[in-house]
Amino acid sequence: MSATAEVVASETAASEASAFAPLGDVVIDCDLQKVYYGDFLAVRDSSVPIEKGKITGFIGPSGCGKSTVLRSLNRMNDLIPIFRFEGHVKYHGQDIYGRKVDPVVVRRYIGMVFQQPNPFSMSIYDNVAFGLRLNRYKGNLDEHVQKALERAALWNEVKDKLKNSGLSLSGGQQQRLCIARAIATEPDVLLMDEPCSALDPIATRQVEELMLELKERYTVALVTHNMQQATRVADTTAFFGVDISEGGRTGYLVEMGQTRQIFQDPRETLTRQYVAGEFS
């Protein structure tokens, strides 16, 4: 009985959420009806438009599928053989899951920064130059590496030790190095999957300031566990919930809107409870 009621409630939530009307240009039009890992329904009814030049924050409790949604945006989920979904993800109107689309090319335009800083075990310079060399970059490599490191707010700290291993840096520096590596190839969109969860507060602050600078040039989608982080940096926020009514744990979009509205005047009870810290 109560299960049915919950489903009905969440369906209305989903329809209301999809009512969110983006103000600016939409870079990625993501509409995931159902996402499965094998037989497990991981996410349903989540339509998340990513707006150009803004930071879109994804918040929600653990297991709500926010990372799954993020990783569908540049086909990182393709690496999991049992992944499949219904719906569409369109990048500037092109279906990125189209039959003729090469996921490798998609990822060059839609870059990613991961939860754990993951520099390659090579020098700082080579880490940043990696993507450029991959694409047979023909310009001045030194200049380009410097520019990427400057944009990632890391240049001043590493300019005298570019030959040192990327792994010799501190956690926060490593994460900024990964950001430099991701932006060196001039992607259009930057997906960030909880980029600060392994960092201390000072490093977090630096990365957040960096995000605000990055959105001048790039579109950013940010998964975060930290609601304060969403209020500090995100322009738009999507709140995901978990539906445990049907025996599984299925994530879905509860509500999406301007960050201020989500935190100060949420439409959904669930959102209000979550942002008030009543559950996590």
Binding site: M76, N118, F120, S123, C178
Partner: protein
């Protein structure tokens, strides 16, 4: 002593008694157990290294005495001859291990790429892995018999046949060690590479292989060291020769067969040479190990 002093002494004593005792208590039950067990592991470690060090010591003393330029370069002596050496056997061993390595290392590493990255859960991978594991326990003489049956019967004893039989023995070790090494490459590294727009080939070539390199080289060196010391498969394939290698299709000398032959002879000269050859064999393996450690270190 005044009454006040007595009281304060009593108070102090009481305070002292109620304080927790922080000194080390070596005869307390737990501490004693810990001490005994620590001592035991030390003893066993020393005991375990006694055979190891005595072998090296004996080799150094007995083999070192006869180790000179002549031993390293001259041909093996006949029955009552003095002097002589085993230059041809050193060359033969290096050449045959080289042939074995050239055939088995690329095949082994490519197979490991498939097992670790491309199709780790496929049926083919399951079967290959099982076969490789079985083959690591394969008696080495069977590798010799196998090569004898497919090569030697048709083409005669040769360095090539010797190399192939060593390759058969090296292959499973290389496959399993390289697979393990590549599996140790953290997923976040491969994620990073895919995320930046690498193709699968680029991920393997630029991230998985370089990151797994130390482990892969360790496996390769283990296989090389094992092969260098093998004698049984070479008996059936390369046989022996008293002369320097003149072609890859000729019977070929090797250190291990020379040691086997000479150590059973009733001549002091040959027995001394067998010791010296053993020392050289150990040194060759040692050099390979050191090289592996040098090259296997992560570059940065």
């Amino acid at each position: 002593m005044s009454r006040l002093d007595q009281i304060s002494a009593a108070v102090l004593e009481e305070a002292r008694m109620s304080m927790p005792r922080l000194e080390r208590q070596p005869f307390e039950r737990r501490a004693m157990k810990s001490g005994i067990l620590t001592g035991l592991t030390w003893m066993v470690a020393i005991l375990g290294s006694i055979p190891l060090f005595s072998v090296i010591y004996m080799l150094a003393i007995k083999g070192g005495a006869r180790l000179d330029l002549e031993a390293l370069t001259a041909l093996p002596p006949a029955g009552f001859e003095t002097g002589g050496g085993f230059g041809n056997a050193i060359v033969g061993t290096l050449v045959m291990v080289g042939i074995g390595g050239i055939t088995s290392i690329p095949i082994g590493i490519l197979a490991a790429v498939y097992l670790a990255v491309l199709g780790p859960y496929s049926k083919l991978a399951g079967i290959s892995r099982f076969v490789a594991k079985t083959l690591t326990g394969f008696p080495s003489i069977l590798a010799g018999v196998f090569t004898y049956a497919i090569l030697v019967i048709n083409f005669g004893y040769s360095a090539l046949a010797g190399g192939v039989s060593l390759a058969v023995l090296m292959l499973p070790t290389i496959v399993l060690a390289a697979e393990e090494a590549m599996k140790q490459v953290p997923q976040r590294m491969t994620d990073a590479a895919f995320g930046i727009g690498c193709t699968r080939t680029q991920v393997i070539w630029k991230v998985v292989l370089p990151t797994g390199l130390p482990g892969i080289l360790t496996g390769v060196m283990l296989a090389v060291a094992g092969a260098a010391g093998e004698s049984a498969p070479l008996l059936f394939t390369a046989l022996f020769s008293n002369y320097y290698l003149s072609g890859l299709t000729e019977p070929t000398a090797s250190l291990s067969i020379l040691i086997y032959n000479f150590s059973a002879m009733p001549f002091e000269n040959q027995i001394q040479l067998a010791w010296a050859a053993s020392l050289v064999l150990v040194l060759i393996v040692l050099v390979f190990n050191i090289l592996a450690r040098l090259f296997g270190r992560p570059k940065v």
